[in-house]
Amino acid sequence: MDLRENIGWPVSEMARKVAMDINDGAYVNLGIGIPEMVAGYIPEGREVIYHTENGLLGMGKVAEKGTEDFELVNAGKKYVTAIPGAAFFHHADSFAMIRGGHIDICVLGAYQVSQEGDLANWSTGDPNDVPAVGGAMDLVAGVKTIYVITQHSTKSGESKIVKECTYPLTGKKVVSRIYTNLAVIDVTENGLYVRELAPDLTFEYLQKHTDAALSQYNAK
């Protein structure tokens, strides 16, 4: 059974839910891929400043066709723009922002998240893959709040929310909240708590498709 995209929320709704949880004035770093979509759903009236680890605070939208500047890219090497009030800086200063706890929120994808908030998102451990880590380990070690946005299960139907990660870790006890197509889940000291269920899903259904144990906030 493939749980991807045909059950629960579409990716756009997942991104919107993350966006709703980003407060006005936040400094935010969005991972490459799906996390980048979050920027499109920030509610009006909120001002969010985007950091890209390759040296820009105040990243704007993706560059329009024909206006690309090869020397103005984001961490995914996409051509982007800078807003008025932006600042450029070098890599050591950029990661000082990250490591020093100055970024409020980072939104990342995941291979696996454990019930303790451990994150695996950089390597499948496959010896045929060329290992590549980028800034992932720095981000989870330094950013104040880590949100994960991901499909609830892999293409082959395995739960990505697990008792313990089997893939190599990016960081231990780093994730605060998980946004999947099925649910929004808080990582707490007492384990995983379901904050919100996708429409027409039961808690039992969610638990059945989740390797880790889940709790309900309102359970008696």
Partner: protein, 238 residues
């Protein structure tokens, strides 16, 4: 929406609490946020630990804060200057504590705090009394001493131009400790000679990106400490 501009020095320093550790920029007069310091004198907040390269001149600025008995401890590299009278006198009487730190180690410890580095090794002060009791380690046959990050509750910084995001530029050698101090405090409070519109500061020339700054107040005509000292002025003004 983001607007870090405070309307007065008093408003900017209002949340500073008794017992706080405060980084104060400046190398002598250059870069010293004298109006913010005077607002702190007005506020009377006490029991402070101050981190600053020097310990004030005459009876204004940092010297006034010390003379007003608001400072229990100073962490600095050079508390003794020709026109420094308040600190030396209180120090000799045992009325104020001093932690002496080599200037480069002071700057690097502050930067480390801002950069999430809890400790680092440095060759500075090895084999001297200032390394006494500190961990050492040998790398490539040479001995280094372990120094720890120096973070703070607040920093008070003087800059040249700012915008409402808190992006800053500085003026000449008044830059000194400002940029690293902005990084290392939970709450950074800045006095700027002028506040510009967003986009008026070239993003290539921003020295402190706004992420490090919480509040900015415009002080368009800051006092010249050396003139005040030459005139033997005292704060609070009498």
């Amino acid at each position: 929406m983001i607007n870090k501009i405070a309307h007065s020095a008093g408003e900017a320093v209002a949340e500073i609490f008794d017992g706080a550790t405060i980084l104060i920029s400046g190398f002598g007069e250059a870069g010293s946020p004298i109006e913010l310091i005077h607002a702190l004198v007005d506020q009377g907040t006490g029991n402070l630990t101050i981190v600053s390269n020097n310990a004030g001149s005459g009876h204004v600025g940092l010297a006034a804060l010390i003379e007003n008995r608001q400072v229990k401890k100073i962490i600095c590299s050079f508390p003794r200057t020709a026109i420094s009278v308040v600190f030396p006198e209180m120090y000799r009487k045992g009325e104020i504590e001093l932690e002496l730190v080599p200037q480069g180690t002071l700057a690097e410890r502050i930067r480390a705090a801002g950069a999430g580095i809890p400790a680092f090794y440095t060759p500075t002060s090895v084999n001297t009394t200032l390394a006494k009791g500190k961990e050492t380690k040998v790398f490539n046959g040479k001995t280094y001493v372990l120094e720890h990050a120096l973070s703070a509750d607040f920093s008070l910084v003087k800059c040249h131009a700012a915008d409402k995001y808190g992006n800053l530029t500085y003026n000449k050698t008044a830059r000194n400790f400002g940029p690293v101090m902005c990084m290392a405090a939970k709450t950074t409070i800045v006095q700027a000679k002028k506040i510009l519109e967003l986009g008026q500061i070239d993003p290539e020339c921003v020295i402190t990106p706004g992420i490090f700054v919480k509040k900015v107040v415009e002080i368009s005509d800051p006092a010249d400490e050396s003139l005040l000292v030459a005139e033997n002025r005292r704060y609070p003004w009498i």
